[in-house]
Subunit: 225 residues, 2 copies
């Protein structure tokens, strides 16, 4: 798989993450590249949702993906099959990415030639919430099997994110998941959070989500450019 | 709910976790109290599995539970309904517990009067792997909806844990989960890891797991004194 490069990245001891994130923002603005930070628990279906999103947008946008994991390149190989540019960050065991790591990924992708880049963050509902990567949009996934009580336990993630994708809704008959209770808990923490319910497997809800995303990318690129 | 106390715990800046964990071990040995550290992703079903385990063992052992979350006390309230002693740690937003936090929980429970204590760690497959709590047994849960590729992505957790509970096996018809592939990946990382497949919902596999656990607790307590 010669098209998936693995990049070993380390936290810089001296780096101020907010400064690095601001640098990313400046560089991305100058390149007119829109950056989305995708976060969730392990196993919530980030990669599957991403593949479905890519396939719906890849004729309309030049897309690149930065995969991040402590180990392995299974997700990058999956993304590679969609035909978009992808690389894989290994971050030395840390529970989140920082802005400097993301800049390494962007440089490797030659993001200046891309319209839209997604960083698939480390699977974790805690650490990534505190790290600005210089993104335009913070998106989190909560899958139905994880349960509707998660905003109670991981409030910071729900507070600091722009969009919530409730995924694997095709499995709702198997799990005791109360959408109304979930939305009530989310809105209490983050009244402006945008919520989409979807299943990457059946395709339900994918169009509303990708329409929203395409519109967001286009709007920003036009206002920027 | 006057029986669920919430304890705010903070990481001690000066603490050496390994020294603190050794202290916990000494104290627990002197008290003849067996400690289990339970870890997993958010939403893998730790609390549901724990309730089912407690109900099968509570007539045979004096049990106490230490719940840990960044926020809320929903899990402690659920455990409270089983009738065993429980408290709730809030750890100030950290992605793991340390040994000093657990000692606060043990003291609050009066663990000297208990045979068996479970710490339900923060929902996370990364940070808790690196922190010895002074436990006798490290147990992790991987739920079927999370997928069989998790050992590839979170190797340290699988390497450093004694027992793997594969949970929610009643949902296997809905998810593409390859038990053989999972076991092959696990055994490569941790050849002595003990694996149980179970569903707290249907009860399948629960007896083998709780028999093993009861035997482990009894053996240690007898050898100890």
């Amino acid at each position: 798989m010669d098209n998936v490069r693995i990049i070993e990245v380390k936290k810089s001891v001296y780096a101020n993450n907010d400064l690095e994130a601001n640098k990313n923002r400046e560089v991305l603005k100058a390149q007119n590249t829109y950056l989305m930070n995708l976060m969730s628990s392990p196993g919530s279906g980030k990669t599957t949702m991403l593949v479905s999103t890519i396939n719906r947008l890849k004729e309309k946008l030049k897309i690149g993906i930065i995969e991040a994991d402590i180990d392995s390149d299974v997700d990058a190989l999956t993304i590679h099959q969609t035909g978009v540019k992808v690389n894989q960050l290994h971050n030395g065991g840390s529970c989140h990415l920082d802005a400097g790591m993301v800049m390494s990924g962007l440089n490797d992708l030659h993001a200046e030639a891309l319209d839209f880049v997604v960083v698939e963050n480390i699977g974790n509902l805690i650490c990534p919430a505190g790290y600005d990567l210089g993104q335009n949009l913070k998106v989190m996934i909560l899958s139905v099997p994880e349960g509707d009580d998660k905003p109670l336990k991981y409030p910071k993630m729900f507070q600091s994110t722009d969009v919530l994708l409730i995924s694997k809704i095709d499995t709702v008959s198997v799990f005791n998941f109360d959408f109304e209770a979930l939305e009530r808990r989310v809105k209490k923490l983050n009244p402006t959070m945008k919520i989409f319910k979807l299943s990457a497997l059946t395709g339900e809800g994918m169009e509303a989500w990708t329409d929203y995303l395409l519109e967001s990318v286009k709007k920003w690129r036009e206002s920027n450019g």
